[in-house]
Each structure stands twice: as C-alpha cells, then as structure tokens.
C-alpha cells in the first residue's frame, strides 16, 4: 500500500477541483496514491482520525479535506494547491 495518502470528501468542492490534478499525477508521474473518501466510508474516516495530531498541526487545527499525507515522513498539506506542489509531494 502506498504511503502517499489522499483524504477527500465526495461533496467537497476543493476535492472536486483537485481530483483531475491527482489523476494527472497518477497518469503522468506514475504516482501510487492511496485515495480515501472519508464521509462515505467509516474505515477511511477512522484512518484519517488516526493521523489527527499530525494533520491538525498543519491544517488550521482541523481535519480538512483534501488532505495530502506522506505517511512515511508525516509531511502534510491541505486544500487546493498547485500541481507543482503535488509533484514535490511524491518526489
């Protein structure tokens, strides 16, 4: 399983905007991303909550979606970002 985890919500407009960029990252960079929808899947929500302290420290004290996490280094960022930032995330 990939240690690049994306937590997202089906009805979140920021996630909707980021999804094509994530697809591009997978198609063009061959990235392996573990995509976890959190509002329709309790297990995914629990997984997100298990990283609560790490995520909250970087995301305004909240569990915001989309959250991009490197579970190996605990690097985290949230919200709408440029494609370049996603490339840096997986490199």
């Amino acid at each position: 399983m990939s240690h690049y985890i994306l937590f997202h919500g089906r009805e979140c407009p920021h996630c909707k905007k980021m999804m094509p960029l994530v697809d591009k990252l997978i198609a063009e960079e061959g990235a392996e991303i573990d995509q976890r929808e959190v509002w329709h899947d309790e297990k995914n929500a629990d997984l997100m909550r298990s990283y609560k302290d790490i995520i909250k420290a970087k995301c305004g004290g909240q569990l915001r979606v989309p959250t991009f996490l490197n579970a190996e280094t605990n690097e985290v960022f949230c919200g709408e970002v440029e494609y370049e930032k996603l490339i840096k995330w997986i490199s």
């Binding site: 089906r10 009805e11 407009p13 509002w39 329709h40 305004g60 915001r64």
Partner: protein
C-alpha cells in the same frame, strides 16, 4: 455550563449560560426561570419540525440577510455542499461540514455543524474576498 431556561409566560425555551433578559417571543422582561433538561425536552417535543434541502438553502439565505456575507452565487457549489451536509446528517445525525472530518468528540465536533463559526476561518478573516472553508458563504463586496 449551559442550562435550559423557560419563559414563565409563553414557555419559550432557551439553552445557554444566561437567560435572555427579553423573551424574543412574548417580549416579557426577566421572565426566564432555570429548568431541568428533562422539562425542557418535554416542552420542545410538542413541535416536530423537519427541514428539507430546499428549506435549508432558504434558511441560509435568510441567515445572510443582515450579515457581511452572502451564500455563494455559484449554485452548483451550493448544491454540492448542501448535498454533503445532508449526507452527514443522515449518517451522523447532524449537519456536519462536508469539507472537514469529525473527530468523534461530540462537544468539539459541534463546531463543525453547518453553518459553522466561519468568521474565524483563516480563509475568511482579514480577507477582502474571504469565504468559509468550503466556500458556501462568501464575504459581501464592499464598494
């Protein structure tokens, strides 16, 4: 600690640290007495109200009327977000924010009920074109 208060004239129920000085329903002054949560719930059980998605959208529009923000004019976004809010209500019992995740700490999760206190959000505060984290509410343009 928050408690329940009942207007002795019209039985309005208030939940808060202090009772209102003026009853918003019958306008009596200093008419509230502290009651048990059991008594308050019993009185409130008289009214069973429901809220459809359309009712909610109408309510958030009314909510913005006298405030410094509007509901986002992007109807597709509003439709998506209200759909999410209602999905959360169906699965979790409250209209939680579809762009954030609850922590399973009931008291702190209350801050995620939509509309939340987004005036504190870094995406809203001190920004001329600020919006709530999800972009359901956007600051009114000041000309």
């Amino acid at each position: 600690m928050r408690k329940f208060w009942r207007c002795h004239v019209c039985n309005d129920i208030h939940y808060g640290i202090f009772p209102p000085e003026l009853c918003p329903t019958c306008k009596v002054e200093f008419g509230y007495i502290e009651v048990s949560s059991q008594e308050a719930r019993k009185i409130m059980s008289i009214s069973e109200t429901t809220m459809s998605k359309e009712d909610f959208v109408a309510a958030i529009h009314r909510f913005t009327k006298m405030r410094e923000f509007n509901v986002n004019p992007d109807q597709e976004r509003v439709e998506m977000l209200t759909g999410g809010v209602f999905t959360c209500e169906q699965s979790q019992g409250l209209k939680y924010c579809p762009c954030r995740m609850i922590e399973r700490d009931f008291e702190s999760d209350l801050s995620l009920i939509c509309p939340c206190n987004f005036l504190q959000h870094d995406t809203y505060k001190d920004k001329p074109d600020g919006e709530c984290w999800c972009g359901l509410f956007v600051k009114k343009e000041t000309t």
